[in-house]
Amino acid sequence: MTELTALRHRIESEADAIDFCFDQGWTDGLPVIPPTEGRVRAMLEAVKLKPDHQIGFIPERRISITAEKVAINAVLAGCKPEYMPVVVAAVEAICEPEWAFHGPSTTTSGPAILLIVNGPVARKLNINSKESLFGPGWRANLTIGRALRMVMRNVCGTLPGTLDMSTLGNPGKLSYVIAENEEESAWAPFHVDRGFKAEQSAVTVMAADGPCQIFNQLSDTPEQLLLTMADNMRISGGVVGQTYYVVVLPGEHHKVVTDAGWSKRDVQKFLFEHTYNNYAHLRRTGRFPMPIKPGDEYRMRPLVTSPEMIFVLAAGGKVGAFSAFIPGWAKAGWSRPVTKEIKQ
């Protein structure tokens, strides 16, 4: 058996161990599961990885993230061993140069990491895609995202006040994991849009603000319904960063849109076309420097630079006239969403 090399701490009892973890600064503020050798080995066994296997490398800090450290943090977070493949894929994703770890983890603007899980693994692990989509109640949703944050905190030094300078924080920084409701969707799953096969499992990581809810119980056409969405989206997130967006359409709204025969592409195009701002408004409201120049009232700037930057998902409860959009972080080029296959 390959040796585990992490430093060991001998503690009197399990109850003391939880307090010990708090005292060491290893937790996000909630109690953790004490990482004993047996629990850590079960995590590694679930992904058949050697402890010293490098899952990712962060060049800006010269940090090598090993399977052993990911396993220890997954135990702390309360994961079941079968969640490990998702945690590993998420860690791989945030180490990709495209995601550019240092910016979204350290910035004052405080994005959380939205994880979107697709494919058979979501059903197998009971990752919630329905009622109370962003709310508590599901171990997989709450602990997989928490494990990722624990890795960032404990291995990468992402601590509030030093290398996490978030001004306001974000409740999603505890955990921000959803699955797509593939079985009730009229559309191809999101990971297929991202180049994977439907029978594969994949996780997408995206630096993102919290979900913003919209309400419309009156409209029975996609146009009118999505005008509500566009109206709320137009001034949102960083506004001028032209970053990525996620749009989540739950049961009722998904039905209005798909009953009319609209594809995801139609939704993206409509939202893209109806979320322009004029430069005069952007200057007047401090998004661009003053003064207003001649013609600015009619010079238009799109919210994103192409319709494909609005990711459309089918997820959320069956009932209720609500949908949500989620603005991504800062500017598109500073951190791009990354999708990784979940290997089982």
């Binding site: 992490a6 430093l7 010990f20 290893w26 990482p35 800006e60 220890i72 943090n73 404990n154 030094g157």
Partner: protein, 183 residues
């Protein structure tokens, strides 16, 4: 009795190293690494002008990073290594860009270019945390009052005049002596 495994990074980062210091700035070419934050270029160019007019530096050239939260990309690092003698980076006035500016200094010191990174005072802890990640928690950087984005032309000039002597001092003094002088 139970035994817990430590979840944190245990291996320290690589020890940062420093470039040897020149005797003076006379005739030296100065690289300015602009992190693209609002007014950073204005402050850096003014600092460059002062280093030329008062300290006898030969010239300054400004390099613009791709975006603030990353270290300067390889082309910039190489160009500075080949065409500059010393470097000034700034101005870090946010979480990811202050630590990014400190990192520019660390990376160029490792390439033998004496460097001075400037951050605003609210990001001292972030900058120290980044230095610690590189195995050098005492890495010396310079501090300017926060904020800088809303300063007038006149105020930018004052900021530059205030920080320029400190920049010159850091570029000419063995950083290890700097560390000893700091609390």
């Amino acid at each position: 009795m139970i035994e817990l495994l430590n979840p944190t990074r245990e291996a320290a980062g690589a020890q940062a190293s420093y470039a040897p210091r020149p005797q003076s700035l006379k005739g030296l070419r100065i690289g300015l690494v602009d992190n693209t934050k609002f007014n950073s270029d204005g402050i850096l160019k003014r600092v460059g002008d002062i280093l030329v007019s008062k300290y006898g530096a030969a010239s300054h050239k400004i390099y613009r990073k791709r975006w603030p939260s990353v270290p300067a990309h390889e082309e910039i690092l190489q160009d500075i290594q080949e065409n500059c003698d010393v470097m000034v980076a700034g101005v870090g006035d946010c979480g990811s860009c202050s630590s990014g500016t400190v990192l520019d200094g660390i990376l160029l010191e490792m390439r033998n270019i004496p460097s001075a990174s400037i951050v605003t005072h609210l990001f001292i802890n972030t900058s120290k945390a980044m230095s610690k990640q590189w195995g050098d928690p005492q890495y010396p950087f310079l501090v300017m009052e926060h904020p800088i984005a809303n300063l007038s032309e006149e105020e930018l000039q004052k900021r530059a005049e205030h920080i320029a002597p400190k920049v010159a001092e850091l570029l000419l003094t063995d950083p290890n002596l700097f560390k000893e002088a700091r609390p």
